[in-house]
Every structure is written in C-alpha cells, then in structure tokens.
Subunit: 92 residues, 2 copies
DNA sequence: TTATATTTGACAGAAATTGACAAGTCAATA
DNA sequence: TATTGACTTGTCAATTTCTGTCAAATATAA
C-alpha cells in the first residue's frame, strides 16, 4: 500500500475527475498520473505542489504522505526496520 | 552525524587498526573506507557483511545503523519528517 | 461493438551513485 | 626542513537507478 497515491486517488475520485483531467492540469502524461496513484512512480516535489492546487488539498499533508512513502521504500523487506526507526526516533 | 560510519571508526580505532588494513581486508580502496567512516559514501550490504567480520562486530547491529543512515538521508532537512515517521510507526 | 478510461511494457534520456586513482593535507619525527 | 605515514579530498568514467512518454493492451460501460 502506498500513502500518497492512495490519497490522490481518493481525492480525485471524490471530485469526479478523470486521470486525464488532472494529468493535463499538472502537465504530465496520463500514464504517469496513473503510476503516481498506484505508487509505481514517485512524484516530484513540484508535482505535489501542483497536484495539491488542482485537487484542493493541503500541500503539507501530501508531503507527509510522500515522505512516508520514501521512508517505506528504504525499510520495506528489512527485518531490522523497526530497530532502525527506534534509533531514529531516539535521536531525533 | 552518521550512525554507521561513526561506529565503524570506533570499532576500528578501539582495535588499533589502520584504515589501510581494514580496507585491504574488505578489498576496497583506502579512500573509500575513509568515506564510509565519514558518511560521505553509503556502504553496500556486502561491504557491511565483510566489515562485520573484520571488525568482529555484530552484523545485524551494523545493518541497523546503516538503515538508520538511509532513513536519515530521506528525512533530513524535511520539516515534516516527524509527522511522516509518526505515520509510519502508526501503520507498522 | 464502440467509445472511453485506465494500466502496462518498453524505452531513451537524465540523474544519481559508485569506487578507483591521484593529489592533497596534516602531524610526527628524523 | 625534509620525509614518512595516515588519512582526506577532488575528479572521473562506469554503472545503476529513476523519469516520463509513447504505443499498445486491458478494462468498463453504453
């Protein structure tokens, strides 16, 4: 499961928009938009900013989801992930 | 500050070994070993495995530090890092 | 079937990462 | 001050990873 993509799809569908429409507004290929929603590609910061506008969403909320995805990319399939996170939290 | 590199230097120095000696045993350039200790380069998993042997360290412990470094790479300079970590922890 | 929406696979170009080499700094000491 | 040894730094080519597009495939609905 991917945080940002799931949310983007929710937002888009709840507003009755098509992939193509959102993609056009943020000036990317529809295929890419599809991939972003399914977590097959990671969005650029700039994308998120534009998407937030188009979907009337809070940019910071989306960035949090995006960061979470990127952290997950690092720790997924890592048996020692929890330990590493504990260490990070301790230090932070 | 970097987790793994700091620990590697501790381990090496506490055993009175030279960079050159450790580097030779794990079959990398001394310059690279130096960079690993200072966090200027990220080690490969395979490196860590070999280093653990050479420095008589626990491999899993080193992997935890290595993962923590990689998570830190993602969240550093991110004002929303804490929120993202909270989200990850909640889901995990 | 036809039309429309979304997904997939393949690809080229861009960007990031890698590790080696050579040259550099620095401190100790001959 | 010259030399030596330990470590660091800059640069670079090679490799790997990532990006976004296009064309084709698949799905969904009328």
């Amino acid at each position: 499961m991917n945080y940002l993509g799931t949310r983007l799809r929710e937002l888009r569908e709840s507003q009755g928009l098509l992939l193509r429409q959102v993609a056009a507004q943020i000036d990317v290929d529809t295929a890419l938009m599809s991939k972003l929603e399914r977590g097959e590609r990671r969005a650029q910061r700039e994308h998120i900013i534009r998407i937030a506008t188009v979907l009337n969403a809070n940019e910071k909320d989306l960035i949090v989801l995006w960061l979470a995805d990127r952290i997950k990319d690092v720790i997924q399939d890592e048996p020692l992930a929890e330990e590493a996170l504990k260490l990070i939290n301790k230090t932070l």
